[in-house]
Each structure stands twice: as C-alpha cells, then as structure tokens.
Symmetry: C2
Subunit: 202 residues, 2 copies
Amino acid sequence: MLEQRFIDGFEQLAPDQATRQIITHALEVFSRKGFAGTKIKDIAASAGFSQGYVYMYFKSKEEIFTKIVELASEGAGRSVQYAAELEGTAMERITWLTEAFLSPGSLAMQHWRLILLQTATSEAIPEEAKRISKEKIREPFEQLIPLIMEGQRALEIVDGDPLELAIAYFSFIQGLGIARSQATEQNSFPTTELVLRFLKRS
Amino acid sequence: MLEQRFIDGFEQLAPDQATRQIITHALEVFSRKGFAGTKIKDIAASAGFSQGYVYMYFKSKEEIFTKIVELASEGAGRSVQYAAELEGTAMERITWLTEAFLSPGSLAMQHWRLILLQTATSEAIPEEAKRISKEKIREPFEQLIPLIMEGQRALEIVDGDPLELAIAYFSFIQGLGIARSQATEQNSFPTTELVLRFLKRS
DNA sequence: GTCTATATTAAGATAGAC
DNA sequence: GTCTATCTTAATATAGAC
C-alpha cells in the first residue's frame, strides 16, 4: 500500500518511539498551520507531550521542520516511483497514482502540502528547509516524466513537452489538494477521469 | 484592464494615501509570507514607514489581514465577472480569463493565493478573515458556472456537473499559481491551451 | 504626520524537580 | 522519561517626542 511507503520512510529515520511520535504529529500540524503558524506547544500537545519535552529530541522548531521537509520530499518521490513500477499501461499507472493522491486524507497529499505549499510562502521558512525542498522536488518529476513519455509513445497521452505536462499534472493535483482540504461539500469534487482529460490523447 | 479592476477596488475602500499604501504592500507581503509569517515590521518597511506608524491606521495585524482578505475576495469575484461580460464564445472568454490568471505577476493570482492558500492553512488565521473568505469565495464560482453552462449548450465544453468543472478549473489555476511562484525556469510552463484541454469537448 | 523609545505579551528554548 | 518553572528573545502594541 502507498500510505505504508511513507510511514516506512518515517520509521526508518526515527530511531525511537518518541521521535516518531513527534515527527508524525508535527507533519500533521505543520501541514495545517504552516511553519510560522505552528507553535511548539501545538506539536507537543498533539503528540501528547509537554511543551518543554520536545526539546529533548529536537534542538529547535527549525530542526523539526527541516527534518520533516526532508522526509516528506522523499516520500513524494517514492509515491510516484511506486506507481511507475506497477503493472499496466502508462495511463493506468498515472490513474492509480492520481487516485492515491486524491483520496481524502491522503498522506501523500499532506506531504505535498508541506513541501510545495510552504515553499510557496517561502520567505517565512528556514533556509535549510528551502534548500532541501528545492533539491528533492525534482524527484517526483523525474519519476513521472518517463511514464508520460511511455504514454506518448503508446499514443495514450497527448503530444508535447513531457516536463510541461508533468508541471501541469502536479499543479492540478496540488490545487485539488487545497480545494479538498477546505471541502465544504464532498460531492461535486472532481473525479480522476475529469482531471486526467487534459493528459489524454483525444 | 483586469488589473485596474482590482486596484480600483482597493482605492475605493481606502480613503487616504497612507492607508492605501499599507494595504497594497500588506497584500504583497501576506501573499508571500502568510499571516503568521508576516511581521508588522515587514509591512511597514515595505510601505516605507516605521513599525509603529502602521498602528495609526490599523489597530492590529488581524485588522489589516481581515481587510485585505475582504478586498481580495471581492477582487477575485470581479475578475471572473469581468471576463464573463466580454464579447465572444464562452470558451473564448474562459481562455481570456485563464490568460489573465496565468500571466506572471498577476494581481489576480496574488489575490487567490491570499484567499485560498491561506485559508488552506486556516487554523493559523483570524476567525473573522476565515468567515469573510468562506462567504466571498462563492462569488467566483457563481460567476463561472453560468459561463460553463453556456459553453456546454454550445457544445464547446464537456458535459458534466458545472460546479465540479468550476472546482477543477479554479484548483488547476491555483496550483499553477503556486508552481509559477516557485518557477526556477520560466520555460516549460503549461500553456493556456493545455490547461483548458480538460474542459474542452473532444 | 512620522519616528523613536518603551511597555506588554507570547513564543522559543533551557534547567532543574519528580 | 517526563513535566513544571523559568529565562530569553522577538513581536505586538502604545505613548510620547520631533
């Protein structure tokens, strides 16, 4: 399962239970409130610890944020890689990936929100986090582009610069993630089929 | 011109030069750094005033933010209304609107970032701003939906729930706005034609 | 009108108690 | 291991000077 992939990544890089606990909850809170809007107290409360205790595991808020951006950036790349390795035509695999992204409460989406959305308001986040994000953001694109090219060769996907198509794809996904997070009504939410129309050869 | 429409809205609701100055620069800074990430000092410096002077015109950071969300929400609705009133087929008008949104440095996009993106990280922004945003966010949709329906009747636009199509449209635009704001390379940015493929009847 | 100086509050970070 | 209390810093907001 895709979600498992992310969690694995987290567990791998977090030796003890408490660190994992903090990281997991910090991801969730940062993703909702942003870097500046998140108080250490919020993370601690969410993880079930006192405010001061967090500093036993991390030396600053910046350090927590930077760590999470690193993990989330890797997770985003891995999710696309996972989809790319599935069976089926290129378009089938992209469809699967899109469904994973758009499913409500998707951890993959949470990761994207953290990375892309936050580096959009980039001036208020730590330099180190920006650097890592900028460096790792290429990975999902590098995973998706060969898939798009495969689909173009199979005449499933529209002609044109694969990078341009990949940018359009992730932008769309990103925008839908924001829309979903504010969803007042769950009905009327765009289907995978509609979303992928711009990619499909007609 | 579309940009002028927004500026008009701002001038209308800002009696004196200093207030306008603060509002204009605050929009820009909030849009880049988010509510929590923006310090009064940043706004003041950007507008060319000292930190304390801002409090001659606004009683708190919340008040500035709330005012801007109100103006920007109205501006977003007006931009769609303006496009809807143009000459041409429904699809031509939507194309025009899309170009206005996607043009680099678009004030319309800046407004969207402020409203949608910030209410996405909604827990860290003032309640009053959330209320206004939620209330006004309907307007752009209400302006676009009749245009979509017109395009469907003229067989220019794909069949399906117009609200779903409108949500997809604004999500896509929103995502592209974020992508553009981080654009490392200006080339490879999706064209209007590609973006609107998902809407076009094939 | 505009700035500088200052009071106040909130948040980050540390250190010592249980 | 975990919390409470505390120090320190930074940001909001005010008030008084030019």
